[in-house]
């Protein structure tokens, strides 16, 4: 149906039409003691460190929505390019979408130029994108990768701030994880030692922070390739729910069996032909 009040095609991108309506609705809801639904956050522990042969990234797998665990096996380590992976903390949808966009942009670039993208390029794209939206996109990311210039680990904050450091932790459990990393980090560690250290850092985040938990994922990026170990360690408090509540035949033992035949006599018989043509 053609409307006569539409004079221009609507612009693409973000649409702010419903903002004032949402604010008004929220006021109405809170007054009536109902709560507006909360977005799913990944209130997280993510950590990364640079070792001798590459970069090791680690993350827990819990996603919370308010006080409820929304996802027990959330994947927080996102693929960016064959030589780069990114851990994301903050609002789950925002980290997903931002890393997806970044990955698409880098794929287009590598197809155009025929080169593998460098980590600094990814960081600059992220920085521009997040600063443009002035922190309204709630994504704190740890980007790690191996390119022709070496092994790199960067952190990008929601307002677009970046930091290039050998070891990092972000998310709500970052203080606990950073404590472990500060204590035992040494430059040029061996791969196995680095994996153990990241595991311990995430573990301490899980133990000390309510919003982190469940399993630990580890991603090892080296010049030879990527090893995405999911899960690296499963939590001891696994779900022991049954899922199937049907009992097998023979679960109840039969003690006695008594058969009583029912005596019937034919009272009336009618035959009706069926038309099978």
């Amino acid at each position: 149906m053609a409307l006569s009040n539409v004079v221009e095609t609507p612009a693409s991108g973000f649409n702010f039409e419903n903002v004032s309506r949402n604010v008004a609705l929220k006021g109405l809801l809170e007054g009536g003691h109902t709560k507006a639904p909360k977005p799913m956050k990944t209130g997280t522990t993510i950590a990364g460190l640079v070792c001798k042969d590459g970069v090791v990234l680690g993350a827990d797998t819990r996603a919370t929505s308010g006080e409820v665990v929304a996802d027990k096996m959330c994947a927080k380590i996102h693929y960016i390019s064959p030589n780069m992976y990114c851990c994301g903390a903050g609002t789950a949808a925002d980290t997903e979408k931002t890393t997806d966009l970044l990955s698409s942009n880098l794929t287009i670039f590598s197809m155009n130029s025929g080169r593998n993208p460098r980590v600094v390029m990814a960081v600059n794209i992220l920085q521009d994108m997040l600063f443009r939206y002035r922190g309204q996109i709630g994504a704190s990311l740890i980007l790690g990768g191996v390119d022709c210039t070496g092994n790199h680990l960067y952190t990008v904050g929601p307002y677009g701030s970046i930091d290039n450091v050998p070891y990092l932790a972000m998310g709500s459990g970052d203080l606990a994880a950073l404590g472990i990393l500060e204590d035992r980090f040494k430059p040029n560690m061996e791969l196995e030692e680095a994996k153990e250290l990241v595991r311990d850092a995430i573990h301490s985040g899980i133990m000390s922070d309510l919003a982190s938990g469940n399993n630990i994922d580890i991603c090892v990026i080296t010049k030879q390739g990527v090893d995405y170990i999911r899960p690296y360690q499963e939590s001891e408090y696994k779900d022991k729910r049954q899922r199937r509540y049907k009992y097998r035949p023979g679960t109840t033992s039969i003690l006695t069996e008594k058969i009583v035949p029912l005596e019937l006599e034919v009272v009336q018989e009618t035959v009706q032909r069926m038309d099978t043509a």
């Binding site: 973000f14 419903n18 600063f131």
Partner: protein
Amino acid sequence: MNTRGLRSQLKDSVPVTGMGQHIGAYGVQDTLRSGFSSVKNELLPSHALELSEKNFQLNQDKMNFSTLRNIQGLHAPLKLQMEYRAARQIQRLPFLQSSHLALDTLKGNDESISFEDILNDPAQSEMVGEPHIMVEYKLGLM
């Protein structure tokens, strides 16, 4: 990077026009979409990003052209803007979807994906305008 030429950003930024109210059915304001009509609603944006997003492309272009002029002289932005104008003229009528292929290639938008390409695709918008009214609006007759 988006932080070049901050001084030029101050000088040449795009002037603010009122936040347009949505005229709904029967010619009165669409209360559901834009709230109750008030002077504050017309002047101030409802979201922190509304103003900066509305003018983002324009501001970027101004900044880039201004930096280019400072580095290479007046001829560089002049030539580029001439090409942009030429590419902007080869569009379809306003109520049809144009691909903006030449304009996108000149601006470099064919090599990147951002939220403009994913969200609110105009080709899939639910509301279609009346062709005559849209052409009249574009020509300034309305």
